[in-house]
C-alpha cells in the first residue's frame, strides 16, 4: 500500500480529491441539502469586493452625471436669465419630469405606494454557473431577507430569493429555465404557470388548455397561487399564442426587465392586490339611428327583443322565482336545501299554453 501510494502519489491525490467531491455531491443530492459553510466562505470572500467595486462605480457615475447636470444647469441659468418667465416654467416642468423618470426615485415612489412591505436592494454580481440566470443582491438576513421571498421592480416581477447570507442574497431571475410562478390573464382570467426560457426578456405560459381564450397583447399578472408573489403584480404581455396538442403555447415579453435590472425590491410582507381591469379594447361601434317610418312598408318593424336576452333557462328560473314568492320558499338558494326542479309544477303555476296557429 505504501509502495503504491509513493509510486502513484499524483494519481492517489487526484483520486482522493475527486472522491471527496463526489461524496460532497452525493450528500447534497441525497439530503437535498446544501453545504452552507463552503458557500458562506466563498460569498464572504468575493461579494464584499463586488460590493466595493459596485459602490465605486455608482459613486463615479453619480459624480459624472452630477457634474454634467450641473454644467447643464449653469448654462441653463445663463439662458434663462435672458428668457421669459414662460421658458422658466417650462424648464421647471422638464426638471420635474426628469427627476420623476429617475430610476431610483421611481423605485422609491413605487415602494411608498405599494401595498406590500418591501426592501430595496442593488444587484452586485452574477451567478458563475453555466447559463447563469441568478444574481446576487446587497441585502441579506441582516435586512430581514429570507429564502423564497419575491423580488420585483416597479414594472413587474424579477425573481425570487433562493439563498440568503448575512449581507447578500442569491436571487433566481424569472428568466431562469427552472423558474415558475402562478399567473392569471387580465381580460379572460385564464390561470396558468409562467416559466422562464433561459434567455432575457421573454418567457412562456404553460397549462392553459386549447379551449381557453388568450389573445396576443393581453397581460398576465401574478395569481398568488404560488404563495411567493402576491396577486396582482404584472408579469408580461402576450406576444404570441399557438394551439398546441392539448395546451396552448403562449409566449410573453417580460415587463420587469424593461428598464434594466440594477435596483430591485424584495417583498418582505406581501399584500394581494386585485388584477387591474383591462382597458376597453376598442370603442363600441357607432350605429346609425333606425330608418324613418315609411307608410309604404306597412307597420314599423319592431326588434324581436329589446330587453335582456331571454332563454328557456331564464324562463324556467323566472317561473320558479314566482313559485318561490307564492310559497315563501327561496328556490335555488343554498342553505335552505337544494330545490328539486324535477318536482311537477302546480297546474296554476304553469304558463298558459298558447294555442298553436296552423
Amino acid at each position: 500500500m505504501e509502495f503504491f501510494l509513493s509510486r502513484y502519489r499524483n494519481l492517489s491525490v487526484l483520486v482522493a480529491v475527486i472522491l471527496a467531491q463526489l461524496v460532497l455531491l452525493a450528500y447534497q443530492v441525497r439530503t437535498n441539502g446544501d453545504v452552507r459553510l463552503i458557500r458562506v466562505w466563498a460569498v464572504g470572500a468575493v461579494m464584499p469586493l463586488a460590493r466595493v467595486i459596485e459602490g465605486g462605480r455608482i459613486s463615479v457615475s453619480h459624480f459624472f452625471s452630477d457634474y454634467f447636470v450641473l454644467l447643464d444647469v449653469r448654462e441653463e441659468n445663463k439662458r434663462l436669465k435672458s428668457e421669459l418667465d414662460r421658458v422658466k416654467m417650462d424648464n421647471q416642468y422638464l426638471r420635474a419630469e426628469l427627476s420623476t423618470a429617475d430610476r431610483a426615485k421611481s423605485l422609491a415612489i413605487f415602494q411608498a405606494h405599494s401595498p406590500s412591505k418591501t426592501v430595496g436592494a442593488h444587484i452586485i454580481g452574477n451567478d458563475t454557473g453555466v447559463g447563469a440566470k441568478d444574481v446576487f443582491i446587497d441585502r441579506g438576513s441582516s435586512s430581514g431577507i429570507e429564502p423564497g421571498m419575491a423580488v420585483i421592480t416597479p414594472d413587474g416581477i424579477a425573481g425570487k430569493v433562493t439563498k440568503v447570507f448575512s449581507g447578500q442574497s442569491q436571487v433566481m431571475l424569472v428568466t431562469d429555465g427552472t423558474f415558475a410562478a402562478g399567473v392569471i390573464s387580465q381580460t379572460n382570467r385564464v390561470h396558468g404557470v409562467f416559466r422562464g426560457q433561459g434567455f432575457e426578456g421573454s418567457g412562456r405560459i404553460e397549462h392553459v388548455q386549447n379551449e381557453q381564450k388568450v389573445d396576443p397583447g393581453e397581460w398576465f399578472y401574478t395569481s398568488g397561487d404560488d404563495r411567493i408573489f402576491p396577486k396582482g403584480l404584472p408579469v408580461g404581455e402576450v406576444t404570441a399564442v399557438h394551439q398546441g396538442k392539448t395546451e396552448k403555447e403562449i409566449y410573453i415579453s417580460l415587463s420587469g426587465f424593461k428598464n434594466g435590472l440594477e435596483e430591485v425590491l424584495i417583498i418582505v410582507e406581501g399584500v394581494h392586490a386585485p388584477i387591474p381591469s383591462a382597458a376597453a379594447s376598442a370603442d363600441p361601434p357607432r350605429l346609425l339611428p333606425p330608418p324613418p317610418f315609411d307608410p309604404a312598408d306597412g307597420a314599423p318593424v319592431q326588434p324581436l327583443q329589446t330587453g335582456p336576452i331571454s332563454t328557456d333557462a331564464d324562463r324556467v328560473k323566472e317561473q320558479y322565482r314566482k313559485l318561490g314568492v307564492q310559497e315563501g320558499h327561496p328556490y335555488g338558494e343554498r342553505g335552505n336545501g337544494a330545490p328539486n326542479y324535477n318536482t311537477p309544477l302546480k297546474q296554476d303555476a304553469r304558463p298558459e299554453a298558447k294555442p298553436e296557429k296552423p
Binding site: V13, Q21, A45, G129, G131
Partner: protein, 176 residues
C-alpha cells in the same frame, strides 16, 4: 556583515517572497472569479470568458506539479460552485481534472510557446465544457444543451484571450 547573518537572512527573504507569491496567486484567482461575477453583469457576452479556467490552466502549467494543479483547480472550482446555483463539486471535479492534466502536460513539453498555449487553452476549455455537460447529465440528470460548434468557437476565443493573459501573468512573474 558576516556570512552567518547572510545565510540567516536568505531563507527569510525566500519565505517572504513565497508568501507574497501565494497571496498574489490567491488574489489572481479571486479576481478571475470576481470578473465572472461582476463584469459579466455589464457585458453579458463576457460570461462566456472562463477566466477561472484560464487561470487554473496557467498556474498548473507553470507549477508542473499535478498535485498542486489538482488542488488549485479544486479550490477555484469549489469557489465557483459556491457562487452559482449548482451543487457544490460540479466545477470542482471538472477543474481538478483540468489542473491535473495541465500540470501533467507541462512535465512533458515546454509550455512557454504561445502557439502551444493556444492549443492547450483551446483543448482544456473544450474538455471543461464537455466534462461538465457529461457530469450534469449523468449525475444530476440535468437536460443541458451542448452545442459543439458553439463550444468550439468559445474554446478558440478563450484560448486567444488566454494567450494574452498568460503573457501578462508571465510578466508578473508569479509562479509560486
Amino acid at each position: 556583515m558576516s556570512g552567518f547573518s547572510q545565510q540567516y537572512r536568505e531563507p527569510l527573504r525566500k519565505e517572504r517572497s513565497s508568501m507574497l507569491n501565494v497571496a498574489v496567486i490567491a488574489g489572481i484567482a479571486l479576481l478571475s472569479i470576481l470578473f465572472r461575477v461582476y463584469v459579466s453583469r455589464f457585458v453579458p457576452y463576457l460570461q462566456y470568458l472562463e477566466l477561472p479556467l484560464l487561470v487554473t490552466v496557467y498556474f498548473s502549467l507553470m507549477w508542473r506539479s499535478p498535485i498542486a494543479g489538482a488542488l488549485f483547480g479544486a479550490t477555484v472550482g469549489l469557489a465557483q460552485d459556491s457562487l452559482s446555483h449548482h451543487l457544490l463539486g460540479m466545477f470542482g471535479i471538472v477543474k481538478t481534472l483540468v489542473g491535473y492534466f495541465a500540470a501533467s502536460v507541462s512535465l512533458r513539453v515546454d509550455v512557454g510557446n504561445p502557439l502551444l498555449r493556444l492549443v492547450l487553452g483551446f483543448f482544456f476549455f473544450f474538455f471543461h465544457q464537455l466534462l461538465y455537460w457529461v457530469m450534469a447529465r449523468a449525475m444530476l440528470g440535468e437536460a443541458l444543451d451542448f452545442e459543439v460548434p458553439q463550444a468550439l468557437v468559445l474554446a478558440m476565443l478563450n484560448a486567444i484571450v488566454g494567450v494574452f493573459l498568460y503573457q501578462l501573468l508571465d510578466r508578473l512573474k508569479v509562479t509560486g
